[in-house]
């Protein structure tokens, strides 16, 4: 009887440890999703990757188009936007701040795209936007 009990306790303990580990890994994975990672692409090529959850103070960065033209990008905690651009239509500025993967910011004249990666495990309100 004692032996049996001991072995059950052993397995109980082993599974508890494993369960804790897996629970911890899930929490960790979800925490990474929080805030999101912004990716800046130029001409379909990734040029910069920013962890938006780690941004302390807002800052701007300038992205120059090799063929002329530029965009000024404002990076804030949890969100990102274009505040100034050389393009004629300024559509990238009017797209405002983005904070999730529903819709990227796009500047076609400067071949620039800013998007927030879809985090695995997170449940966005919308998977896509029809417009």
């Amino acid at each position: 009887m004692m032996k049996y009990l001991r072995s059950t306790r052993f397995w109980l303990g082993a599974f508890s440890v494993l369960l804790l580990l897996s629970a911890a890994s899930i929490v960790f994975m979800h925490r990474r999703a929080d805030g999101g990672t912004a990716v800046i692409l130029q001409n379909n090529r990734e040029i910069r990757r920013i962890d938006l959850s780690a941004v302390q103070e807002p800052y701007t960065l300038r992205v120059d188009n090799p063929e002329g033209g530029y965009n000024i990008v404002l990076v804030e905690k949890g969100r990102i936007s274009v505040t100034e651009a050389s393009c004629p239509d300024k559509i990238c500025i009017h797209q405002g701040r983005i904070s999730d993967s529903t819709k990227p910011i796009v500047c076609l004249p400067n071949r620039l795209m800013i998007l927030i990666e879809a985090a695995s495990g997170s449940a966005p309100d919308a998977d896509a936007l029809t417009s």
Binding site: T8, W11, F15, P104, L108, M113, L115, D127, A128, T130
Partner: protein, 344 residues
Amino acid sequence: MRALKLISLLLCCALLCACGSAAAPQPYESYVYAMDTVMTLRVWSADAAGAQSALSAVSGMLSALDEQLAVTGEKSEIAALNAGGHRSVTLSAESAEILSRMLAVSRDTGGVLDPSIYPVVRAWGFTTDSYRIPDEAELREILKKVDYTKIALEGNTVTLEPGMQIDLGSVVKGYAGDRAAALLREAGVASAVLNLGGNVRLVGSRPDGAPFRVGVQDPLDESSYLGIVAAADKSVVTSGGYNRYFEQDGRTYWHIIDPRTGCPADSGVISATVIGDDGLRCDALSTACFILGVEDAFAYWREKGGFDLILITADGHIYITPDLADSFRLEDAYADDYTVEVHE
């Protein structure tokens, strides 16, 4: 003892669940500039290499289709046709089929969708972003060249009357979505969201089996959506005046032209969403329904069926087909501005 056994069993179950979620399909994304817009391709797969190769196949197909069907460009069959140097141009079988299917919708809708509207769109400056308002005499003259019944398609050979030009732009993205979905399925992808510049093609449902949720853009505010429609394995295509427009003397002029007047469509509809299995048809009908207005669009739906509609009007109404009553939901923030009505 019994309690201990039960707890062990529960823990085992919990552990299995945790392991199961770790092996779940992962999302892979790709972006393509094509057809004058940015396309976002997102697939879920448990096979990383397979997902990447499927995405690059789709990207290549989209770029090639763009070159083949754009109104400009050396490789474009449509540009060659519009150049007018030949009496007749033989298209590829694929281009001919797209034109033929677009013409079928033209006939079906009394010509509100017309591939030959292109010279009018150009006269308004929408193709070059140098906007202007053509005067009545000019419009009358150009409208003489707008008539889909004069596009002669025999086999794969097209003949246009002198001065006529066509554009397949209002169906190409819908068609491209269907082809992309087929390519992904062949590659074994069971779950994907393709956003071809606001033209959404869904493959299967979410990896967890729930339908995808597609936001319908607020026609008055580009940064938010006013409702969500739940759908799986469908095309969801919207035509909105907000996508390309200019303002002059306090009036808004958008790029969706009514071939009957040569002027921007003025039906009271400011956004038309069509949901269905056939992406090309959804794309074609979203433009047609925007021009037709609520009553004629719903009359068409009653007659032909096979798709669902969300029409948003300038006076704050959202008209939906009965099948969407459960799957379309207005965001709470819009409850004061819009009323949703099931229309039959």
